[in-house]
């Protein structure tokens, strides 16, 4: 609703509607980009530190004075970003240059426009579309096209293998994720993100918050299917076969360096937030407080949404240092032979539950 609100606040909205609209969208887009950038820095630092602590190390630490990574290595991600922008931009001679240049654009734009439909709080959502969750599912799969472009245009065997595996994995796991979202839509009867969250207010079963994950046993299972599929769609460990560094160097991104690589990296972290954000909005009550009535006013909405999302991202980082990498045939059979049938059972289960109980 923010774009609409901003348009109403503009004093000369009636005279120049187009200019007003464009400037309102710009005012929304810049904070979204800044949020992605700051969140990525925090997440990279978190990943470094959490992974270190889990392996009984200390991770990046600044020592002494001068050009060090700050206290506790806090400036490490900033230094990484600076390094990436100062690096030489290399396009291999044998690559398909046009597609090679196009790929980071497709991947980043696909991740960036998803944020337009994420409900950060009661009032902060760039475009509260009536098909919000469907839109997110649709545009978040744009990234696959970019990865395929990157892998194919690099003219490198590692890249091609990585891209093909990545595409097969992402499209496969999209189906259980989509079917899990359908159970949510069946329960709430709306596709709008805010509508889904508003329907999760209050208390259920006497003491639990009325989140969809607690609504019935089938939606409880659906959350785990959605979240695990989401981790797989982000190509994160234990599903990181597409960029398994011990066999495929860096998968589809092998030939990329400097800022072009940075945008793939940024999009990956952005996609992690999108998956967590959608999981939070659809299953974990979005910006609703875990204790209904406690810190439930609009300013706290932002805190709850980002807090819950960051907890899920912490879980993803935790996964990385807990589970070994899956084999590619295990990966595919988990998706098609376990998740897909269970998702179908979920849809039938939620339907019957709704007809009998709801």
């Amino acid at each position: 609703m923010t774009v609409d609100n901003l348009i109403n606040w503009f004093p000369f909205g009636a005279e120049w509607p187009v200019i007003t609209f464009v400037s309102a969208v710009l005012i929304c887009a810049i904070p979204v980009f800044l949020f992605i950038a700051v969140y990525a820095l925090v997440a990279i630092y978190g990943e470094l530190k959490i992974s270190s602590f889990m392996q009984d190390k200390v991770g990046p630490m600044g020592q002494g004075v001068g050009l060090h990574a700050g206290k506790w290595g806090l400036l490490q991600p900033v230094a990484d970003a600076l390094k990436l922008i100062l690096k030489e931009d290399i396009i291999p001679e044998s690559a398909d240059k046009k597609l090679f240049i196009l790929a980071p654009f497709v991947v980043f734009v696909g991740a960036f426009i998803t944020f337009a439909a994420l409900p950060f709080s009661q009032e902060i959502i760039v475009a509260d579309m009536n098909i919000g969750v469907f839109y997110i599912l649709a545009v978040s799969s744009l990234g696959v096209i970019g990865i395929i472009l990157a892998g194919w245009s690099s003219n490198n065997k590692w890249s091609l293998y990585g891209a093909m595996r990545s595409a097969a994995q992402i499209v496969s796991y999209e189906i259980p994720a989509g079917l899990s979202i359908i159970t949510i839509v069946m329960l709430t009867g709306t596709l709008s993100m805010q509508g889904i969250i508003i329907s999760q207010q209050g208390i259920i079963w006497g003491f639990l918050p009325n989140w969809i994950i607690f609504n019935n046993p089938f939606s409880f299972i659906a959350f785990f299917i959605f979240f695990i599929s989401g981790v797989a769609e982000c190509n994160r460990t234990p599903f990181d076969i597409p960029e398994a560094e011990s066999e495929l160097v860096a998968g589809a991104y092998t030939e990329y360096s400097g800022m072009r690589y940075a945008f793939f990296f940024l999009s990956e972290y952005a996609n992690m937030f999108v998956v967590s954000g959608v999981a939070v909005a659809a299953f974990l009550g979005g910006w609703n407080s875990p204790i209904p009535g406690f810190m439930d006013s609009p300013p706290w909405g932002l805190f709850w949404f980002i807090g819950k999302s960051m907890s899920l991202i912490f879980l993803m980082i935790w996964f990385r240092w807990t589970f070994p990498r899956l084999r590619v045939d295990q990966l595919m059979s988990v998706c098609w032979k376990v998740f897909l049938p269970v998702s179908f059972v979920n849809i039938f289960g939620v339907g019957i539950w709704n007809l009998l109980v709801g």
Binding site: V3, F21, V25, L26, C28, A29, F33, I85, L86, E88, D89, I90, I91, P92, E93, S94, A95, P104, F105, V109, F112, I113, V126, A127, D128, M129, N130, Y135, S154, N155, N156, K157, S159, M164, A167, A168, V171, S172, I175, G178, L179, V185, M186, G189, L191, T254, E255, G258, M259, R260, A262, F263, V328, D329, L331, L340, I347, G351, N354, L355
Partner: protein
């Protein structure tokens, strides 16, 4: 409605600019010392051998086909799911029949072995695969 999708359209344009500007900054401040070795394809230090644009394993194509069927099905389910609570039992039964037909399709694909990444037992195999099948069972066909 037009406002929502206009926002998305502008977001796409802004996204393109947000990628382009850092690339431009990099072009201005980053060093540029290209050598033929630097521009060659990376293959773990070896001289790269041949092109990577080669024929690829058919299994990826099969996965893409199965994905297409189920993804279209998910699209069909969305409008139904929105009005499911208003329509009640009749709509549920109708969609259950539709889903059952698709589940039969899934069972067929499963039985045919197209969901197996590594195919141990390919029925009716021809050509280059027919030889591999005659080997003792448990031998994988194809490469990774």
């Amino acid at each position: 409605m037009y406002r929502d999708f206009g926002t998305i359209f502008l977001f796409i344009l802004i996204g393109i600019v947000l990628v382009y500007v850092p690339l431009l900054i990099q072009r201005l401040i980053a060093p540029k010392k290209n050598t033929p070795d630097k521009l060659s394809t990376y293959e773990c230090g070896e001289e790269s051998e041949g092109s990577a644009w080669v024929q690829f394993n058919i299994r990826f194509y099969v996965i893409a086909l199965i994905f297409l069927i189920f993804d279209v099905e998910v699209v069909f389910l969305f409008p139904w799911a929105v009005v499911f609570q208003e329509l009640g039992l009749l709509a549920f039964v109708e969609m259950a029949i539709f889903l059952l037909i698709l589940i039969v399709g899934l069972a067929y694909v499963w039985k045919k072995g197209d969901l197996d990444w590594v195919k141990y037992n390919v029925k009716y195999a021809r050509g280059r695969y027919s030889k591999a099948i005659t080997e003792k069972e448990g031998t994988a066909v194809g490469n990774s």
